[in-house]
């Protein structure tokens, strides 16, 4: 009886852990500082798949961008290897998609290297973008 109860409790805990483990990444939200930097146009998406500092930017924004880009690079490297692609190819693909999902008012960089503010119209992207 006691053993059965323990077993049931353990199974329930394991299931709960598995659920939270799976659900956690889907609910991962942007850091408020990052969200604010995006919406105020201090940070923008670049065609190469990384974030860029728009204008000079203060030290805290530069640090924020560097940290996120390091995380992105590590992720690209891992995923590129799994997909038999190069880091640059994967990053470029992610850049296409990241620019597409910018919200109106956010900044993105055109293939020519100019910062643009996203409107409701489609962004100007690399000709190779899907």
């Amino acid at each position: 009886m006691n053993t059965a109860f323990t077993r049931a409790t353990l199974a329930f805990s394991a299931a709960a852990l598995a659920l939270t483990g799976l659900a956690a990444p889907a609910f991962a939200q942007r850091d408020p500082a990052y969200e604010a930097a995006r919406s105020s146009g201090k940070v923008g998406e670049k065609p190469d798949g990384y974030l860029g500092v728009v204008g000079g930017g203060d030290a805290s924004v530069r640090k924020l961008v560097d940290d996120l880009n390091i995380k992105r690079r590590a992720l690209y490297a891992q995923k590129a290897q799994a997909a038999n692609a190069t880091l640059e190819e994967y990053a470029l693909t992610a850049g296409c998609l990241a620019i597409s999902r910018t919200a109106p008012g956010e900044k993105y960089m055109t293939p020519q290297g100019a910062w643009e503010t996203r409107t409701s119209a489609a962004p100007i992207r690399d000709s190779r973008c899907p």
Partner: protein
């Protein structure tokens, strides 16, 4: 196979080689005498074959579905 065999073989291939050289020489001479040659000179600018763009676009299209998932699963850094 001994050393003499090797030497003979070398001589044989040398002979064949000389015959070919003779043919090429004759062809060149004939060409020059007849005056019907088209001269081909190398371009001054290097020839750039832009395969890079096509290959990359294919790759981008192949990677896009996976990259979309990657972005959604890591929406905190995107």
């Amino acid at each position: 196979m001994n050393a003499r065999d090797l030497t003979n073989r070398a001589r044989l291939s040398h002979k064949v080689g000389m015959k070919r050289v003779g043919t090429i020489l004759m062809a060149t001479l004939g060409c020059g005498l007849a005056g019907g040659c088209i001269s081909v000179s190398a371009p001054d600018k290097p020839i750039v074959i832009e395969l890079n763009i096509n290959i990359k676009q294919e790759v981008v299209y192949r990677l896009a579905p996976g990259a979309q998932n990657t972005i959604e699963e890591n929406s905190d850094i995107f």
